[in-house]
Subunit: 500 residues, 2 copies
């Protein structure tokens, strides 16, 4: 094999992997959006075959030989190719440590678990979901130990979503955050509460859908390549490459703000993915590099942009147009205050910026303790409820609004939640850098997202997964990650809204 042939084969291999990703991603997406309700077993059957084929493709002797040959000749590769070979070899070496039958069984389990979770949530019946969740946790832990037998398995899971992240770093970050947020929340609680009646009423789905497309277009998504569907739990997925991206939302007719910010949040993910340089398509470098950087973008659009006074002023006329009776006599300032109301609540995805990270910390603590054998899955609901009382001071009325609210565990996403909190914190630091050259508030208020998106594209999006997260971060930040930016951001927001 010549190096030229090997380089061509490297690209062909990745195109194949992208096609399998497309197929499996679409089967998952279809299951959540369009598929008739009793078809999960059929999807599980196909996914088990396709994941086996993908496994064979990515771990075959031929593939390993190709990558090792390229690795041995890496001086002749360009930057892109070097990173591809590194990521693919790492993936293979991890994969090879998992027995194929167990890997396939796990893929099947996840399809079933996701289906059962939907039903269990609907029925608010944790017991229905428990046996599946036990298997998901046990398998995730077992796989972590297969891959890194000498490492704490929960650290492995954290590192899966953010290269190099550890429980030590999380404990420190969350400790600092909690010590700042809890007193802030107390101060806010002592102030008169914000009137958020502007978000409550009756908002027909078709009008909310119109708002979704308006927002998608406004924040700069290319509607020719980014689709919108409705699901129980909003998510974003790329199909095959960043040339086909899907976001989803969930409409509540009594509160338009939920879906509105879901769209902007998922839209942030989609901007990041679709912002990859086009020559990264059909390679492992296509799309965002880590979950926390992904969340930094989604939560940047949702909160830092979406809950800013400028954004509220920009969008208010559209809200008046869509919901004229409801908005009569209201102001953009009322809307701004309503969407920044800080108050302990039950549902993470609907929570305000101030309490959001407390929701994350609860999940993080629970995951850690299950991994450490200190907590059994069957005791999760009681412990969940106890911690909501302790951290947020509220009573959880049922598992639907408690431990069953998130889809993550049903999809095997364990160690993922801290990414949201880290993403929040990264975003605040990015904002500070961005403001050095971009007139942020003016852009947002005038609805001209160009300069903001260009900054993100140049600094973050276009690189896809070319750089390690920490390299990318430190390049963008021109220094180390510093959670104080985020703490100051939260303080500023609370002072502004509550006059602390």
């Amino acid at each position: 094999m010549t190096i030229t042939e090997a380089r061509e084969q490297l690209m062909a291999l990745q195109r194949k992997m992208a096609a399998y990703d497309h197929a499996m991603g679409l089967i998952y997406y279809d299951g959540n959006t369009t598929a008739p309700k009793d078809t999960a077993a059929n999807r599980a059957m196909s996914l088990s075959v396709l994941s086996e084929e993908m496994y064979k493709l990515s771990t075959s002797d031929e593939t390993v030989a190709l990558l090792e040959f390229l690795d041995a000749n890496k001086d002749e590769l360009d930057t892109h190719e070097k990173r591809m070979v590194y990521l693919l070899l790492k993936g293979i070496r991890d994969m090879q440590k998992i027995p194929m039958a167990e890997y396939i069984e796990y893929q099947e389990l996840l399809v079933t678990a996701d289906d059962v979770w939907h039903r269990a949530k609907e029925a608010s019946d944790f017991e229905m979901f428990r046996p599946y969740l036990e298997k998901v946790f046990a398998t995730a832990r077992k796989f972590a130990l297969y891959i890194e037998p000498d490492k704490d398995p929960y650290d492995h899971c954290l590192g899966d979503y953010e290269e190099g992240l550890t429980r030590e770093a999380c404990d420190e970050f969350f400790g600092k955050l909690r010590s700042e947020i809890v007193p802030l929340l107390k101060e806010v609680g002592a102030k008169p509460q914000v009137d958020d009646s502007i978000r409550h009423g009756f908002f027909p789905e078709d009008k909310q859908e119109e708002l979704s497309y308006y927002l998608m277009d406004k924040i700069g998504l290319d509607l020719g390549h980014v689709g919108l569907s409705t699901t129980e739990h909003p998510f974003t997925t790329s199909l095959g490459s960043h040339f086909d991206e899907r976001i989803t939302t969930h409409y509540f007719t009594d509160d338009f703000v939920c879906s509105m910010y879901s769209v902007v949040h998922e839209g942030g993910h989609a901007l990041y993915d679709t912002g990859s340089a086009d020559d990264l398509a059909y390679t492992v470098l296509d799309g965002g590099v880590s979950m926390s950087i992904h969340e930094s973008q989604s939560r940047f659009y949702e909160n830092i942009i979406g809950r800013s006074r400028s954004f509220c002023r920009m969008i208010f006329p559209k809200l008046c147009e869509l919901f004229p009776e409801h908005m009569e006599g209201r102001t953009a300032e009322e809307f701004y205050r309503a969407v920044n109301k800080a108050e302990p609540s039950l549902i993470r995805t609907e929570s305000d910026e101030l309490t959001y990270c407390l929701h994350i910390m609860i999940r993080y603590e629970l995951e850690k303790r299950i991994f450490d054998g200190e907590l059994e899955v069957r005791d999760l609901p009681a412990e969940w409820n106890r911690m909501y009382k302790e951290y947020l001071g509220i009573d959880v009325p049922d598992d639907k609004r408690g431990v069953l609210q998130d889809s993550h565990w049903a999809s095997g996403l364990i160690g993922y939640f801290p990414s949201y909190a880290l993403g929040n914190a990264y975003g605040a630091q990015f904002l500070a850098k961005m403001k050095e050259t971009v007139d942020f508030d003016k852009c947002i208020e005038s609805g001209d997202f160009g300069p903001v998106n260009d900054w993100n594209r140049e600094h973050i999006w276009k690189h896809g997964s070319l750089y390690k997260p920490v390299e990318l971060l430190e390049t963008v930040m021109e220094g180390k990650f510093d959670p104080d930016y985020y703490i100051n951001y939260l303080r500023g927001k609370c002072s502004d809204v509550y006059g602390l």
Copy 2:
């Protein structure tokens, strides 16, 4: 390899093929229902990979050795397995005659052609579509000659959809049909035309959608396994197995009858597929055996049932409930007469039972002449329009309502159209047999589809592709196919509606 191992491998092979079918079918379905508009190139990329993998899987040395081993030991196989081996070997032997690169290129072409056809139809611009259509026709002809070099290539295409069908048989069947239909149409034309104002008005999409689900449930589809979406051109597809079936429709707000009968037509396809015995799932025996038997079922539900007086009486109260203002003062009899109005028209899918086969004959003649080199693709629009004038006496105002109306050619379905006409004729003969034991009109009028569906399930659906079409037909009919049943059926309908 023992025979037991080989039998297991036979099932595993088919499960894999079903998974690839699921993936590719879903990508196609998604492209027609949900995908953002500029994502066709991305789908083409993935489909080219997946069809290559499918090709390799089904023609690999290992697969051929397995099937030849089983074929050599067929005495030890059961009826199901024998038929699987026969169908799979036939598929491989056909496939092997097509060079892999050309096969893959054709799959890519079809994805692009389908996308271009959608745009060309919208713009009524045949020239946009022409280069793709030329390639589709040329490739279909070339592949026919690869597979059966000594056979007339158009006969090969016909046989692809109906084992053993030839242009000679079609010429005879269509000749007879035309000689009966044309005078009938003249007789009808001399009578006062039917008032079909009952179908015209304003019918909101959400009410039509409600009607769709009502009809699907009524005709006996299991909504847990059969989904509904909207597309430009209605179709039905199985995903992976008959456990996940999708039908589509297209709503016109000025005429609810179009979608109503699309749903019943596609519902007939879906009843046939989902009626396969469950142990046929994930094998090549799952689902309908040939296109014309498929069409016999879809058009049985659409016309023989759906356009019967009994059905019109059964559905009329629902129509009054959904469209109360419009239906005020109307009767079920008016509705029956309106949906049986016979009149030359432009669009095949909206045409009445009497003129329907004339639309098919035009397509059949055009395909034949292109294959024979007597007609160039660039001359298709003019020739299409000339034949519509000759056969139906009408002027085609634009290509959107002319040569661009059907999706079939864009999907490579050449030689498919005669199936519709044959299916019509089979259905009329099935009806005569069914009536020997089922009180057809009473069942339909009372909305009790059980006995009708049971008869079809027992005689046709449950067998999937276990029998050759002609075997199945002659078993059900207890004799040879006889188009006179259909001609008599058409005469009866025209006499009833027009009092001939």
